[in-house]
Every structure is written in structure tokens, then in C-alpha cells.
Amino acid sequence: MAAEEQLTIHEAGRKLAQREISSVELTRAQLERIDRLEERIKSFITLTPELALRQAEQADQRIAAGEAGPLTGIPMQMKDLISTQGVTTTCASRMLEDYVPVYNATVAERLLSQGAVLLGKGNMDEYAMGSSCENSAFFPTRNPWDLKRVPGGSSGGGAAAVSAGEAVYALGSDTGGSVRQPASLCGVVGLKPTYGMVSRYGLVAYASSLDQIGPITQDVTDCALVLNAIVGHDPKDSTSLRLPAADYAAGLGEYTTPSPLAEGGPQGGPVRLGVPEEYFVDGMQDGVRESVQAAIETLASLGASVEPVSLPTTRYALACYYIIAPSECSANLARYDGVKYGFSYQDTQNMWEAMERTRAGGFGPEVKRRVILGAYALSAGYYDAYYLKAQQARTLIRRDFDRVFDQVDALVTPTSPVVAFRLGEKINDPVEMYLIDVCTVPANIAGLPGISVPCGFSQGLPVGMQLIGPHLSEQRLLNIAYAYEQATSWHTERPEL
């Protein structure tokens, strides 16, 4: 197999099953490609080539024994806040630079038990706090479409790796858009599942009521295959849902009509799509607006009914998110005290000074900013005005979605108001950086599934369309995205590297 060939999961799976290639060959080709590109892309914090080749050998044995699943032998990247036993898990932080987990996250366990090949750990904004991957304590990742631009964040390493062909797929995590937004900026597919669908056990916590792990893939079929592998109840996560077994890839079906969305709706009629005007915000780039409008027309031509809808609480979502997420983060990150693991300042006999200097030295600026902001929002005298108010706003935002999902089956929006921006362009202005998340945070606040799929280019850079649906409507979102993908070729576009 040529090192230049970029296979999807389903293509590679077919070749593995037919013995056209072995997992070892596939993994070697992947490692060669990483060798060639990584100096420019920088999508990996840690590479695990020996481990990957060992896992590939085992995968080949499973394939030979007829015990392979769809992900067996396929090389992938995992975001570096998903705990991997024996493999450094840094969260892109100095705090955890040398931290080696002694257990696997449930998602890691699930993928590895299905024969996944781990190429390494993906770069990210420190503790998943950021929208550009520039908050990594180690180095920024570059957008494969333009190396002077950011890949988005926080799962920027995963999106860049999949886009550049450094990994067949990646796992990211999405607290306010951290899977969907980088997928959009890098021209790949990213899904945030319904809150509670994928176990968070072993996912290093940022904001626990919002965090959800999701796949970053080259196309919708791959997204469904990875989702199949990672969903399911986990007694180790108390917010994990018990759901009936489902095969999301098989559920995609095969479209034989030119208008697959004409009768795919849950009521039997056409899929009803709503376009919320509030998501087409001031400051949105014209090229983004035009690409998404064109995508909506394509969806209509596939048989969907399209109507404008209104979600008036959208204008409160960013404030709601930027109170709740930092509040939860300030509580979650209290564990980094320099005693149990991680960076530890020792050069004092005073316990408090040691703790304060440990946290000063271990955390980067964005993490400090959010921990302090959250501590403020939770502090006596301000709790009602900020944290409680934001939680009440959260209820109103949920109710808004509930109401609109009585009218339509799914929402179509841009994923990001802008295409990939230049490194350094926004990093010194947190207010402006936070605005990038305007289209993605509402789904996290309401616990809803959202998927970003490539829908065009503006200034030569990818644009993403987001579909948001009610709780547990993953199959519906995947089907709409799949129908769109069948009718277009944006997902086959790859950067020249």
C-alpha cells in the first residue's frame, strides 16, 4: 500500500477483510506518513509507534482467526485527555506532563478491546479549554489546509490528524464545540453525542455536566462505525444512559432514490429541517453564510422540508456557557494540588505556598483565567447572580429547544461563524475567542447531539454545517448527514501536503 493513500475506516476494513493489506502494513504506511508530515502539522503530543505495531500484529491475528470487528487493525489517534494505561496523558498541560495513567478510560478500553491501533495522543488546548489549539502548553497544531492557520479546538490535534491523513480517525471531546468546531475548520466530520451516551470514565474532567467524547472521521459512515464502538452504559459513570443496542452504521441504509429525505422523517413524511435565524450571527463571514445556505438548498433538493425557526434564548447561550463551564472547571481542577500526581512545587516548607505555586507553575494562562472566573462565579455573594442565574438560563435554553423540536426534526446551522483563522490572531483576546463558540455551545448546554459535516470552502478553507437534533436522535442526524454526503463531494476534498 502506498503511503499516500488515505483510506477511510470502511475502505481499510474492506481491504483488511479481503487480505489486500495487513494491519501491520496499514500501520507502517500511517507511521511513514506521520514521519513525513508531523513536523509541519504537529497534531500529536505523544507518538506510540512500537505499541501501534504490536497492536497491529495482534489485529492481524484476530483478522486471520475471523474475529475482527469494523475497527480492528485501524490506526487512530486519541485526544490527550483520554486516559490510556501506560501511555502518558498530559491534557496538553505542564501539570500532567509526566502523568502516566494506571487505568484506561472506558472508551479507550472499548476501542482497544475491539482491536484498535493507537498511533498516539492528540494535541489540544490545555485541559480542553480553548478554540484554537494554541493553548497547548507544548506547541500549537497547524491547520493542514493552511499551515499559518489554527485547526480549531480544543480537539485540534484530532481534526488536523484526520484531515492530513495522519490517522484514519480520532477521538476528541466536546464541552462547548471542541469536536465539531475543529472538524469544521479542518474539513472533516465531527460528532458530539447526546450527553450520557458515551462514558466519561477516564476522560480528564473539564466541565462534567457538558463534557462528551465524540468521533472525528473522514466521512459519515466512519462516524457511525466509531459511535457504535464507544456508546453504551458504564456503571463507572453515574450520568451514563442505559440504551437499547443500535447499529448506527447499518441504520444509514442505502439510498436508491434521488430524494432520500422526502420520506425519512420520524412521522413518515419528509424530514423537517429548521433553520434558526439566531445562529446566523452578526460578524459571521459571508463565505460561511453562503456555503451553509447552499447546503440547506441541497438538503431541500433531497426532499427535506425547510422552514425558518426561532430560538430566542440563543443570545444567552455564550454567557450561560462561560459561567457554567468555568465554575465546574474550578471545582474539577481543585484536585491538582501537587500531592497525588502531576507537577509539584517543593521548594518551600509551607503547605499553602506549595499548593499555590504548584498551580501557578502547572497551569497555563487560559486555565488560570477559567479557574479564577469560575471561583468568582461560585463565591459567596456572587453565586445567585452568576452560577444560579446561568443554571436557570440553561433551563430556558432547554425549553426553547424542546419547543422547536415539536415543529422540526433537526436544526441546520453553521458550525463556526468563521473559517480557520491565523495563529496569534485571537489568542490575546478571550472575549473574541469565546465568540467563536456561539453556534456550538447551545447543544452542550441542552445535552443535545450535534454533528458537523464539510459543506464547502471559503477563501480556500473548509466550512462546516452543523445538524442539531433532540436527545438521542443520533441516527436521524447521521442519516441526514449521510444523504447530504452522498449528494456532494466536499468530504472527499483533502489538503495538498
Binding site: 455536566s209 500531592v339 498551580r359 471561583a375 468568582y376 452568576y386 446561568a390
Partner: protein, 96 residues
């Protein structure tokens, strides 16, 4: 809505992060701007609106009280900056 310098220092103390004078100044400015943005929430009438903690209708999940294997002490301690025997070593908590 703007924060005083002393407020930033007080919150940093609560959060147990020592800040340089430059960081205090930077955060004072940036957090004030963010709090200004948050004022938009005051437009919302939240009278009698219950708060949402998380978006899934699961409450107080319990499991059977059965014993399970747990991590070995040497594993638990393997990332400890300082240890002594089977313990994490910490600085003196109680002062003279």
C-alpha cells in the same frame, strides 16, 4: 461591572493560584470584560425557573453494594511526586 484588583487577588487566593502582579492586572481587565458580557443574562426573567444541573433526567444513580477489585497501592502511588511507604507524603498541615 468591573473587578477591583483586591478582588482578583482574593479569588486567586481562594483558587490557590499565586499570580504575578502582571497576571493580576491582566485578569482584572479580562475578567471585567467577561463579566460585562455576562450582564446579558439580567435581561432574562428567571422567576420560578428551576436551575438545570445537567441535561439528562438521571438522579442519584445507585448501584448494589458489592465489593470489586481496586487499584493496587503501588499503582495508586506511581504518579505521586513524593511518597513514603504506602502513603502520599505531604507537607505539614498543622503548624506550631
Amino acid at each position: 461591572m468591573s473587578l477591583e484588583r483586591a478582588q482578583v487577588e482574593q479569588i486567586a487566593l481562594l483558587a490557590r493560584i499565586s499570580l504575578t502582579p502582571e497576571e493580576v492586572e491582566l485578569f482584572q481587565d479580562q475578567l471585567s470584560q467577561l463579566l460585562e458580557q455576562f450582564q446579558v443574562l439580567s435581561e432574562l426573567d428567571t422567576t420560578d425557573v428551576p436551575p438545570t444541573g445537567h441535561a439528562v433526567d438521571l438522579q442519584a444513580v445507585m448501584r448494589e453494594d458489592e465489593d470489586e477489585a481496586s487499584l493496587a497501592p503501588e499503582d495508586v502511588l506511581s504518579n505521586a511526586p513524593r511518597q513514603e511507604g504506602e502513603f502520599f507524603r505531604v507537607k505539614a498541615v498543622l503548624e506550631e
